[in-house]
Symmetry: C2
């Protein structure tokens, strides 16, 4: 068998890489396929999305965030090399140069098939003081541990979060739970720029109501440090916000340095571009390089354009698809509709499809409607208000996007719209959807249906 | 204008009838359309689905269950006649005979268009003792009040619920909340015959765990009464179950006596049959009779057959469609996929599409899979187990049905499957659905996706 045994090399041991490894192993045994995976850190297959809840205390222990340890992968005959960084890809020679970080040695490993799953890196603005003790990113488990150590050591109780996207608002919740006075400084007009500003405004009001100081439309200019060198405040053009700890929640970019240096083509968002089977496009890759997870751009099925979305659920799907294909099976990743859900304390925030500006950028004309409804029948205990905004295409009435801000029971309702977008339903078709109804679960018209009905009226009025 | 003014007559003042009235009124003013609605009871537009929660104490006041009172309808220029029962429909003469119950007088009213929205009537088995004091149905607000009066008057604390469908299990919860010892006597092998028995078995176990005595596979033979004439026990062939109060939760049938006597054709479930615009089929109706709500049969889009489903959410949609059409607009009700959701205390129960026996009856061959997953990321507090069963068609892999039994966060997940059924997605397409993911809302693979992946494997294995 050894003459036909192939070697699969994987760069990156988190969701996409190790899902690919596991799925490939399921399809091909070690006598047919050797799998070598390189991972820079000590950890594999962990939930970066869980870090805010670990920091906030909802999750007691770092190890709970680890879905599968290096040892567990090795038991399944995956040659996993942790603390080993790939520093070069030689596409022509079909080999990668790896550096064992603890041994400080480098060596080449050849591949028949290669998977690039290098993930994303957090945006870290070049600000004076950004590297001061007390300033933390929250991308890796090590970052999370370092932040927790700082929180344990620091007597002060003032925290500033820079950025008000998913990571920013989730970290605001985590720090509130730890008893901090939290200020969120945000460049956008409203928090959650993944929503339209009118919906972001509802998030702003709710966060303010939770006692979080919200500073919108403001650039941080520097991080100020004290005599001990530690952070003491965050400065903007107009003001200073005292801070015992600063958390960066500004977002991430595809980590594609290696790929770019190897000559692989990148998309306009800096991510790798793949075909539907997750194989890297272009002749440079020679048809034997796959990529997935936070380092790739994905097709947005609603706008027809590539986007970069760093999200564990996509990374897992990519890994599954790649593993099937490199393991001799067949699977594709058709694209995304841009669904995301998050929460700040009891506020639930969700979106799918296009915002107004996305729709305009895609050349679409549309109507928008916004409705208020409740999560349960109005008379049922715990019925909570939610606001649903819906975009529908002019004339055709095709659903283009939904945004939801509300309390318990609001967020996951976005899934109905996500499936409707995938199926390209019109808002008129949506009004007939047979959604689950009982008083503890929904009003007799589910909020999504209420929004769809109003959108139908708006599409009609626009036609007249 | 009076020469062109039409009269719309509506029989039945609950969800379907009054939604039709309201929508028609929105489209046409009183100078164009006169609307006369007859309602047998004192109440209009109330939530029968809310009665178990009123009886259980979650809803404090009967009036909370009334979405719109007779006065509110009358303010919108709808000539609503409560306590007035229609006793005959004369299709040839285009008129109905109404009886004013309090005045004890009868009169004919002619119509240009007629809406039959006579609802459903509860199944009431002809058992000895069924009419004894202490035996209650829970179909109308008056029924609910009568039951509450009995509960207030009766010192005993033993309740027997006959039937273990939605009404039965919801009433079991209500009586548990009122402090009763509850026994549920059920003809089926398991409770919730709207699920496959393997899923119903999970409901059985959970209800038993709540301290409810479950007696399955057993027919009630009579209701035993005491010397005072009140109920004292429920008897089956083998046993007697002492009861201070008995609740009938056996289900409902279409209330179509009037329609049948008038000569309108009925379907195999005893409901009226309509076209997609909700107009009653056949020459007898003369093209001017509409019907909707619990008295009609609806098209099941998955099996291609007519079904009877008594559910407020459908009745409201029917009313909306009828009101649009009789008001000169255009709307259709394309059918249902059979979605239903319910709960017993903290147990959530949901289904959509076909059960195994439905699929077989429809001539479909299928594979089934069952998975366990959690409502949130496994490490996130409150992550609760749920079981998801999925049916997919052999060869094509088209989704045929989903059943879910779990705790908080389980029930409304069925909506994803409901939309997928409507869009006729395959389970393979479902594995790529972009559902909302964040640790407080879902594992990285949503339970529906876990089931879809397993179903894909089963469809493939079946092909091989």
């Amino acid at each position: 068998m050894s003459s036909t045994r192939e070697r699969l090399v994987i760069i990156g041991g988190d969701a996409a890489g190790m899902s690919a490894a596991s799925q490939a192993r399921r399809l091909k045994g070690p006598d047919e396929l050797e799998i070598v995976a390189f991972e820079r850190t000590h950890f594999t297959s962990y939930s970066a999305c869980g870090i805010p809840y670990w920091v906030g205390g909802d999750v007691g222990d770092r190890d709970q965030l680890i879905a599968r340890t290096p040892e567990q992968h090795r038991e399944r005959e995956i040659d996993l090399r942790t603390r080993t960084e790939v520093v070069r890809i030689d596409l022509a020679g079909r080999r990668v140069l790896a550096r064992a970080l603890d041994a400080d040695e480098e060596y080449w490993t050849s591949y028949d098939k290669l998977v690039v799953a290098t993930g994303a890196r957090p945006v870290r603005p070049r600000l004076p003081g950004i590297d001061a003790p007390g300033v933390h990113g929250v991308q890796t488990l090590d970052d999370g541990q370092a932040l927790l150590d700082t929180l344990a050591r620091t007597p002060g109780r003032r925290a500033v979060v820079i950025g008000a996207g998913y990571i920013g608002v989730e970290m605001a919740e985590a720090l509130i739970k730890r008893g901090y006075e939290v200020t969120v400084v945000n460049r956008g007009k409203e928090p959650m720029s993944t929503l339209d500003p009118d919906m972001g405004c509802l998030v702003h009001d709710a966060m303010t109501g939770m006692g979080i100081a919200m500073v919108n439309g403001t650039e941080v200019t520097k991080i100020l440090t004290g005599a001990d060198g530690r952070v003491r405040a965050v400065a903007t053009e107009d003001a200073e916000y005292p801070a015992d700890v600063v958390v960066l929640g500004i977002g991430v970019r595809p980590e594609t340095t290696l790929a770019r240096e190897a000559g692989l083509p990148l998309g306009e968002h800096g991510g790798l571009l793949t075909d539907l089977a997750m194989r890297v496009r272009g002749p440079e890759a020679g048809g034997v390089v796959w990529a997935g997870g936070d380092c790739v751009e994905v097709l947005d099925l609603v706008s027809g354009r590539e986007r970069h979305i760093a999200l564990g659920t996509h990374a897992n799907k990519h890994g599954q698809v790649i593993g099937s294909n490199v393991g001799g099976g067949y699977a594709t990743f058709p694209g995304v509709v841009g669904t995301a859900v998050s929460k700040v304390c009891d506020l639930e925030i969700a979106r799918t499809g296009l915002r107004e500006k996305d729709a305009r950028a895609a050349g679409l004309q549309f109507v928008t409607v916004t409705i208020e409804s409740t999560s349960r029948a109005g008379y049922y205990p715990g019925a909570a208000l939610m606001t649903v905004k819906m975009l529908a295409e002019r004339r055709t009435g095709r659903l283009l996007g939904v945004q939801i801000v509300g309390r318990e029971g609001a967020g996951k309702r976005v899934d109905v719209a996500a499936v409707a977008l995938t199926a390209q339903l019109t808002v008129e078709q949506m009004t007939a959807l047979d959604l689950g109804y009982a008083p503890p679960f929904s009003p007799v018209w589910d909020p999504i249906l209420v929004a769809a009905r109003k959108a139908v009226a708006a599409v009609r009025a626009d036609r007249d």
